[in-house]
Symmetry: C2
Amino acid sequence: MALGEFSLIDRFFKRAAWPLGVDVGVGDDAAVMSVPSGHRLVACKDVLVQGRHFFADVSPHTLGHKSLAVNLSDLAAMGATPLGCLLGIGLPTVDETWLESFVGGFSALAQRYDCPLVGGDTVGSDQGLFISVTALGTLPDQQMGLLRSAAQVDDDIWVSGTLGAPDMALRIMQGSVTDTHGRLPDLRTALECPEPRVALGQRLLGVAHAAIDISDGLTQDLSHVLKASNVGAVIDIDCVPVHRELDVFDAPLRQQAVLHGGDVYELCFTAPTQARATIEQMSRELDLPLTRIGQVCAEQRLYGRDQSGRSIDMATHGFDHFSGGDV
Amino acid sequence: MALGEFSLIDRFFKRAAWPLGVDVGVGDDAAVMSVPSGHRLVACKDVLVQGRHFFADVSPHTLGHKSLAVNLSDLAAMGATPLGCLLGIGLPTVDETWLESFVGGFSALAQRYDCPLVGGDTVGSDQGLFISVTALGTLPDQQMGLLRSAAQVDDDIWVSGTLGAPDMALRIMQGSVTDTHGRLPDLRTALECPEPRVALGQRLLGVAHAAIDISDGLTQDLSHVLKASNVGAVIDIDCVPVHRELDVFDAPLRQQAVLHGGDVYELCFTAPTQARATIEQMSRELDLPLTRIGQVCAEQRLYGRDQSGRSIDMATHGFDHFSGGDV
């Protein structure tokens, strides 16, 4: 069924928008927003393609959620406060039930993080579904954000939450791992409904040095930070927090998922040792595990060690969204 | 050939970015920009899909140009000054020559309008090429932009440039019109290399009332303005400026292309009659034709009249990008 462009917009997207803080929202050539005085603008864009970033049978509600979540996660990794977002979507067909549900998932997250939909573009696409979201945020003027290049020698390395679940879900869904203990439902939620660490990112401003969100896997994303900062790191492998549903899987498989598995959207950040108490307090206040997993060193390589002191190869095997990546 | 994500970014996109006015550009989780104090932020997004918005054989250089041009055109229609842009692109294969040329076309326009590439995302796409660009701009704080809802009764209606060429190019390329006089090369340039009217939009701030860029056809886009402003209009059909290469085509076909043909990216705007001299002066200074084509009226319908005073049906037959459209 073909719907005229304006009925699409009126019926599905206008209700995902709301005027608070937005001077001109959905429905004109462009959106107009006020950036609070004394603030910088932060902007990021993530694209999701069917078959690469989500399965064809994904629930549209969770897809709506994830499309925005991965962008809010990029804002979080800069320490930015969400300002608004734009949605570009290519639709093979116009399925009203599907759209209703997609917009529902997108809007619920947008409202939770006060990040209104301010504009975008819907187009027909003969070639499958794709989604492109741009998120806009702000930073106080005196702050440049949590840059990848800001890690310093002797910084602690921290991660939020737990790792490994999305990768294990993918392996089960792709058939390379058997789900003997019926853990897929919870693991799949971790894959499809990541929670962007927006509040954490904001609090880390002025406390942490460097930060990145773990989209391509801990080792690969941490490597970007180390490379940009001209430093190295040693990771205490046994300290890396493992998702609780992974306990039933073999240790080597679990370690692979935790160290190299992508699509996690937790934050990995570095901070001076003096900040430990502050960060632990933050963890309690946010009710979010924040775990020290290693230390930044001057030698420009990334290596791991386990409790026995054995050194472990940390070569990058991270999840690579098909040779793509943030520009 | 598959290239790792970081080599793609380093090799093709970093050079399209430059640091002027950008605090953090390509290469971190998000871009950071300073919005000049006392300015509002303007944001828009347009998506282009192979087979819908461009032919598979389009030159990548012109496609790079057009991907950004259609977004700059939206900024122009608000009267905004470009600040920066983000590029999302789904690539079926990584063809270095193609990418080189695409980035060349994109960058040349970005530099011309001082709109640096500040971020984005490149992904693999099994299902054909798609491009999603977000453009960011600024408006002085006391200005809300050239809104669609701001047309007033008795305003003059103006258009920039000439109309009809992109539509005629499309008809020839799709085989419904024969190019007896070999006009396709020039017509195709109008289709594939539109010039965004950025300088005009900026100058119209405080002079014009409403504005829109003609992406879906004069009648359809003007109808959006009229509807949003709760007014109507009468168009002097014979005054609408026709692209010079259309002289060899039959009058009804020409009129169809001029009134309803899309993909033009000229501005249609309304302004009080007292602004005529100012706008004519603007036209001379910008070396850009600006033509009065009609008047806003209170009766909420759009109709045309020719020199003989005959009334002409102006029902909307505008170019519709497959039921898609700006959100």
